[in-house]
Subunit: 518 residues, 2 copies
Amino acid sequence: MAFDLPPGLTAREFERALAAFAGAVGEQWVLATDEDRATYSDHFAIDEAAHRPSAAVAPLTVEEVQAVVRLANEHKVPLWPISRGKNFGYGGAAPRLKGSVVLDLSRMKKLEIDVENGTALVEPGVGFYDLYDYIKKNDIPLWLSVPGNSWGSVCGNALDRGVGYTTYGDHTAQICGLEVVMPDGDLVRTGMGAMTNAPTWQLYRYGFGPSWDQMFVQSNFGVVTKLGLWMMREPETMLGIDMEFDKADDLEWIVDTLAPLRREGILRQAPSIGSWLRGAAVLTTRAEWYDKPGALPDSVIDAIRKKFSMGWWSLSMRFYGPEEITAATAKVVRKAFNGRPVLSIKETAWRQGDPPELSAWAGVPITFPLQNANWHGGRGGHVGFSPVLPANGRAALAQFHRTYARYKEFGMDYHGSFAMGERHITNVNQVLFNKDDPEMMARVDKFFRALVDDATKQRYGEYRTHLDYMDLVASTYDFNDRALLRLNEKVKNALDPNGILAPGKSGIWPARYAGERS
Amino acid sequence: MAFDLPPGLTAREFERALAAFAGAVGEQWVLATDEDRATYSDHFAIDEAAHRPSAAVAPLTVEEVQAVVRLANEHKVPLWPISRGKNFGYGGAAPRLKGSVVLDLSRMKKLEIDVENGTALVEPGVGFYDLYDYIKKNDIPLWLSVPGNSWGSVCGNALDRGVGYTTYGDHTAQICGLEVVMPDGDLVRTGMGAMTNAPTWQLYRYGFGPSWDQMFVQSNFGVVTKLGLWMMREPETMLGIDMEFDKADDLEWIVDTLAPLRREGILRQAPSIGSWLRGAAVLTTRAEWYDKPGALPDSVIDAIRKKFSMGWWSLSMRFYGPEEITAATAKVVRKAFNGRPVLSIKETAWRQGDPPELSAWAGVPITFPLQNANWHGGRGGHVGFSPVLPANGRAALAQFHRTYARYKEFGMDYHGSFAMGERHITNVNQVLFNKDDPEMMARVDKFFRALVDDATKQRYGEYRTHLDYMDLVASTYDFNDRALLRLNEKVKNALDPNGILAPGKSGIWPARYAGERS
């Protein structure tokens, strides 16, 4: 089958590059059949072909990564590094620039745990299940923080600013020290790791001078080959409060109740206020309830909610630590909701010695949220639209109404959540679709662009986006004629003069591929 | 009086540059008399002349900063940006490279507070007293976190990783969004500020793509002209526990008691375990007790401690929030010290409605810790030696013994503290001296180098250092033949091809001045 080569390369030059890669990593780890290209494509994409790679190469060691990067410079082959490639909704394993060679790091599975200090040092191939299994097998009293899609990489998730359910759920904030292969093949360690054998590499974030960790997040400045991560000690107790709320407009006061609790550090995980479909889409499918096009009517929503005893919104909070403190915290949080029309409240409790609680709140990996891709039937998929809002009810409710109206206009079922950061809200909107429904797929792109446009008018930027929209979203960061993008690209060109590393990631294009910007 | 010109400039070229600066900021804001040069020198330096500037220029607005930076490129004049220049112990207002022109930003005093969200946006000239006065005058229910030397700049302190006394005391971690004049005069806003008028600039740290804030900390990549900072809401209560400990070797179990409380987020400010001299040096002077050279003998230490009822070590902890939670936390912390030989315990309490507590724990600016410079009499001064250790008692005690022996060997009085981070200790050692005692001053440099050498053997790096030792400390970060320094300098040269911005800061030298590295 015909496929796109890396831009500017002839078939012969491409073959020569692959042969060189094979020399560095072994024949069997250069993957360049049609099946391989399909494997590394984005199965949730609106148009898979737009981001199809030409091949993949899968090194095992840091030295092999360095060798591949050097060869990529020599042969002018753009590489797209992935950890485990499970970045679904944002591009999966696929590159921004079609014809790129995927640098698949999933074979790199080294893992060290410092039990006393509660830290991990992981290579990109270490998945949440790997880390969980290791901890269970070795009886280590640490808990993970896992994302809803836990078959992904611990490292990759933190590097794309993914989130989890515990007080350690802001994964990028748990990063402490990286090892990075630079675009020229040089090897850097950040923070205290810049001192050989420093015992504080995973203990102190900043090091001496400028601190680089967050520069390798959502960027294309280097290939992270080791990532330090802080982990939670198994707490003495985990108390919880689950709430359901009846009306869509309850969102305003829910946010206003939670915002000060978050800001003042009383509530220390980032609870997410999720719409009914977040819960329902993993329990049922649309076809069981409705067979017409257009957004679900209210009567059907009511019927689904009734069947599963769901609110319009749901909210779960968890408190971790000694029971004196968690009980006092739960009391303060309940008091904040006093007199409010909460539909239902459930309290939960786990204490050391109880049987393990097998939930994401307790750091147990899960994949059931992925079930939502089946909502419409057919080959399901979704893209995530995730603007950052101020943490206040007025802003949240207005954004909800604006977004809800767009979902209706485009005939899509609303699936939104509002995750409460310390001073912001990440408003994740899933756009669920059926790739086998061409009429629906024709709507998705326009719908998404309308959502971005609406948010930009409010001056709300996205925290993360799909490959298809990286240039669009980067362009909304428009201060001083896109000064930050200009700065990013200046650094990109200095570090990566051949532009071999992830061209186009987060809208950052090296000079060589500047013409590929959409 | 003769003085050093910027390297490579003739007197005439220098005069021309100053005239150009005057055209941008006004005659009166170019400061180039002998008195000016003395004013901007480091009065705590072992050798003030080593870091004497040639002049200072003091812009009022961002546009003036941009103009000065562009002129500095044109005239090849190295600039040393300072906020308020109170970085005592680390260099004060003085530049790393003598003959540099100090870019004094202390006239830039714009200040905005977002009361609802608990954030500030400050220009570099805003001091802690300015911010405090503003908050009091406008009856704003927010608390500052102040450093011991509170006459400095809020912005400058956060940019050098200074610390304070509350749960917001890791000031660099409170940064949320910067405005930066780049070395070529371009103007960048980081994080969500990269979107014009985004309401989330001070609310969400990361923005889209790589996150730059920490790259402008302890660096010479840009001139920060506005800094976003998170602030604490006035808490319902502030409960506290102050402890004194009798024996030097108590340090080990004190650290081991505190480390898990910090790691597990129970104790949320970073308490500092300080040696007796930290307390005594602000209450008395050495001459009142002893008139011989050499470190103070134990009998004198005992007498001083007795007079002021001091332990060998002291420790203060504070808990902020609703009383249910602070009281529960205090209980858990007290329990952790049960059965330990604590010399004395004092509990403190402040509740909303009480008269304001006028202490740094309550965010009130202070300067009395600076009194310690008078310990020896004469023109006093100090340098700080501040390695980062793992948060465990064994490591802390060994480092203490090692350092204490060095203080004795060099005839200096030990002044150390161990500030407990979440997973690390910042071990701040003050070397107090009398600049009018040439014999003492002759010892200080060797002593300091011995301390660095000892720590480096343990693979402990400093988090911050004096101008004199920036190259030395940078050289201890030696992984892969100083790969991180190589990376920093590659970026430095890309952003600042004329090397005009703070050459030598944190050991980062632009190509133009590479020969000045020590």
